[in-house]
């Protein structure tokens, strides 16, 4: 058997879910996330257009940047004209905005919410802290690079960035989606083991399934 095939087989295999007790293992799905290739080109373009025109963001304020999301809904910035709307459930939203620094405690929730979103899903990382830790670069409890834990489509720099820059970020994201380049979902699935290793390295009390469906 060729090495590639073995990898394939390995990917098909179920996850170990070692963090869970035996009792809990039956309650969580142990399916491994799969790469779902895009469908036929034209059709996919149409779908990408729709995805870009209807961005539902997860209303989950993970850091101080969450405060910048609120003005977007006001009459002054009016994000709804771009088809952007907040959505309370990760199941239904497609954009995840990491609102600033992510502490160790938050990254757990970020990973969980990210995995619960249905692909295609996009991540906008807001503020310097998500890029290199920002002013918290030497903190004992704040992670420095969010892209080691989940794939990021767009960074919006600043500490904090203004709502305008966030809107600009959204529009950049739309371009990427329309171009078919925003494929964080498949990237995550492909490099699943690497991401998982990074996550597990810092999260020591891993008490959730390896992939939160």
């Amino acid at each position: 058997m060729e090495k590639k095939d073995i990898n394939e087989v390995e990917k098909q295999m179920n996850l170990a879910n070692d963090g869970l007790s035996d009792k809990e293992k039956t309650l969580f799905s142990d399916a491994r996330p799969q790469v779902v290739p895009p469908v036929h080109k034209i059709f996919e373009n149409f779908r990408n257009w729709a995805r870009a025109q209807s961005l539902w963001m997860l209303a989950f304020g993970t850091g101080c940047g969450a405060i910048e999301l609120r003005p977007l809904m006001t009459s002054r910035y009016d994000m709804s004209r771009y088809g952007i709307a907040p959505r309370p459930s990760p199941r239904q939203s497609s954009v995840f905005i990491i609102g600033g620094y992510a502490s160790l405690k938050t990254i757990k929730r970020i990973v969980r919410s990210y995995e619960q979103m249905q692909g295609p899903k996009f991540v906008i990382a807001l503020g310097s802290c998500t890029i290199n830790g920002g002013m918290y670069y030497d903190s004992y409890y704040t992670i420095n690079r969010i892209d080691h834990y989940i794939p990021v489509d767009i960074y919006v720099t600043g500490c904090m960035p203004r709502p305008e820059s966030l809107l600009a970020g959204f529009n950049k994201l739309k371009e990427r989606i329309r171009a078919g380049r925003a494929d964080g979902m498949n990237k995550y699935a492909e490099n699943f083991d690497w991401y998982k290793k990074n996550q597990k390295r810092i999260i020591k009390d891993w008490n959730m399934p390896d992939y939160n469906w």
Binding site: R47, R51, G83, Q118
Partner: protein, 303 residues
């Protein structure tokens, strides 16, 4: 009429109603935005949303009932719509109203709600039953004034046949139930506020408190099905109200104008009032609208 023609007509009717209902949602969002001083989303935003939701690559399913829940819901909307004659005198829009009368329509509304409740229940998320519990209990209360108002209609027109009720309102604008029995209309319109789950009766979905309630686990095509149904169901309800209280419609344009105005009523109220707590909302329905409903019955039966 042979059955295939009937089905063909029904398909036309359903497609138009769905598009109309969804567009109505878009228009209302636009209006809201303009009132706020915003541009607002495009009118076709609901359609894009549906396409986008269908375009999700993976759908997470919790089981067979979860899978069927949205189907039930959509079937409920479809059925409700199909048992209502939409346009008075039109063969295309008569739907399957020969299968049953007003009672059938009123009970078929429950079909979708029950199915949805079951599907959401299998999702296993605690917010689903919470939302459903609220929704169902709110439903029990707003159905009371509505039922009283329908009974008043039955007394007034001596029939429960929707077509016959519409026929009785033809001729002059003064023949509308709105003018012949205003109490019944008031009671029914207030209960419609609850039915549409707009603010102040939006506790069922309550995005901040129990994130959108029942359909919280719904995703991908499941959600898209629900969204599609939403358009159709709103249209069906509006048409029902139009038929019962506002003289029905003899052509598509009249229908669109009338239903739009009826919908605007609930939009206006929704824009003007903050949300009730569950028990406040339910007590409200059991108080004033119910009393008005009883008055409407007394009005037609004993005066």
């Amino acid at each position: 009429m042979d059955i295939w023609t009937k089905i063909f007509y029904a398909v036309i009717s359903v497609v138009i109603a769905t598009i109309y209902g969804l567009a109505l949602g878009g228009v209302v969002r636009k209006i809201y935005a303009r009132v706020h001083g915003r541009y607002g989303p495009p009118v076709w935003q609901p359609f894009i949303d549906i396409i986008k939701t269908h375009a999700k690559r993976v759908a997470v399913s919790h089981g067979i009932m979860f899978y069927l829940g949205p189907v039930f819901r959509f079937a409920g909307g479809l059925g409700t719509y199909l048992f209502i004659p939409v346009i008075f005198g039109s063969a295309v829009f008569a739907n399957f109203s020969m299968a049953g009368d007003l009672l059938l329509v009123m009970y078929f509304i429950f079909f979708g709600q029950l199915g949805m409740a079951l599907g959401a229940g299998e999702g296993g998320h605690p917010y689903s039953p919470l939302g459903i519990a609220r929704g169902l209990s709110q439903m029990t209360t707003f159905e009371v004034p509505f039922a009283l108002s329908v009974i008043a209609l039955a007394i007034q027109y001596h029939t429960l046949n929707i077509t016959a009720i519409v026929a009785a309102q033809q001729g002059s604008i003064l023949n509308w139930t709105l003018f012949t029995n205003p109490f019944a209309v008031v009671a029914a319109m207030i209960s419609m506020l609850g039915m549409n789950m707009h603010s102040p009766f939006s506790i069922v979905l309550a995005p901040q408190e129990i994130p959108i309630g029942p359909p919280i686990e719904m995703n991908s095509s499941f959600l898209a099905t629900l969204q599609t149904n939403r358009g159709l169901f709103v249209a069906a309800k509006l048409i029902l109200f139009m038929n019962l209280y506002f003289g029905g419609a003899t052509n598509l344009v009249v229908m669109i104008v009338k239903t739009f105005l009826i919908y605007m009523f609930s939009v206006f109220v929704g824009a003007a009032f903050p949300r009730f707590r569950p028990e406040q909302a339910m007590r409200f329905f059991l108080k004033w609208p119910t009393i008005i409903g009883i008055i409407s019955i007394i009005f037609v039966a004993y005066l």
